[in-house]
């Protein structure tokens, strides 16, 4: 009888520990995540341009690795750095919000440079937006 009580207490405690861990878990980063898709910036923009609902279905929340040429760099007005990647479409580019850990790396990049970035797809506004981006080189 006593053993059963101890087991139940043990399990409850473990369950509670997991819940507390999940609750207080800070933002995870994509450093160790494998991309769900790999493509050029142009291809990603084309997909959203041709069919936004279908692209939303396919790409929202997924980790996408894009390679492209940097149009502009914005280093930390609001504390976060971001990159705009050219897509061949002057109106729709890939807007990558970089993870805080990448701010230093971002400072060494320049417009016109080719980069490979992985980020989570948030959807389409004027540009396709990726968040939590990590520079892959």
């Amino acid at each position: 009888m006593k053993r059963i009580i101890l087991i139940i207490m043990g399990l409850s405690f473990a369950g509670l520990a997991v819940a507390v861990y999940l609750y207080f878990k800070p933002k995870s980063t994509l450093h160790h995540s494998r991309p769900d898709f790999t493509m050029t910036a142009a291809k990603l923009a084309e997909a959203f341009e041709q069919n936004e609902p279908e692209s939303n279905e396919k790409y929202l929340d997924k980790i996408i690795s894009v390679n492209g040429v940097i149009e502009t760099l914005d280093v930390g007005r609001s504390g976060t750095a971001s990159l705009l990647l050219q897509t061949g479409n002057p109106v729709m580019m890939i807007n990558c919000e970089l993870d805080k850990s990448e701010s230093i790396k971002a400072k060494s990049l320049t417009a016109g440079q080719s980069v490979k970035i992985k980020g989570r797809c948030a959807g389409l506004l004027t540009d396709v937006v990726l968040t939590g981006c990590i520079i892959e080189e």
Partner: protein, 188 residues
């Protein structure tokens, strides 16, 4: 005679477009943040990827954010926000379309801070509601910046808060917006 009218209309059309193109401002990195201050918990999130267009000739202002681009401090909060409250897979964006009511009184070439009122509609979570807010336009050499703070009621947008977490999530949420606009190059 008919030809002259056609040419005149075409010319006016082109000129009007050229003029209004001169007066359009745009940003793709606007900031939208919100705070839900409830008895048990304070929930905050920031979105740094708001897209906005402002037409100084007509006063029309459009602001759009992707719900999935709101960043929270904790993973679980962000997950609940997207999956349970905003249902962002179904409704990926929140869009505001409105007009700056006092736009005709503003001289955009003169540096200064001008209080503004914007009235329009906010579409969020599949619901469209009228929204009026006050804010400030900051005109300087570097361009046009806009700030605004306002409150929205979650109930208005069918965002349901389960009784269990009612003490953790405020029904009224305070929203703050900051945008630094760049003038759009005329397409001509």
């Amino acid at each position: 005679m008919k030809n002259k009218i056609v040419i005149l209309s075409a010319l006016s059309f082109v000129l009007i477009n050229a003029v209004s193109a001169q007066n359009k401002y745009f940003t793709r990195d606007g900031k939208v943040s919100f705070v839900s201050d409830a008895p048990l918990e304070k929930i905050e999130a920031i979105n740094n990827k708001a897209s906005s267009v402002f037409d100084a000739s007509t006063g029309q202002l459009e602001f759009a954010v992707l719900i999935k681009a709101f960043e929270f401090e904790k993973d679980l909060m962000q997950q609940h926000f997207n999956e349970n409250y905003m249902e962002s897979d179904k409704y990926p964006k929140a869009v505001f379309k409105g007009t700056i009511s006092n736009v005709s009184t503003i001289d955009f070439s003169k540096p200064g801070n001008i209080p503004v009122t914007v009235a329009g509609q906010l579409t969020m979570h599949g619901v469209t509601k009228e929204l009026t807010a006050t804010g400030t336009f900051e005109i300087s050499e570097s361009g046009l910046a806009a700030n605004s703070s306002f409150k929205i009621n979650l109930d208005d947008y069918n965002i349901s808060v389960p009784k269990l977490v009612r003490d953790k999530i405020a029904r009224e949420v305070a929203i703050e917006i900051t945008a630094h606009y760049k003038k759009l190059e005329p397409k001509m």
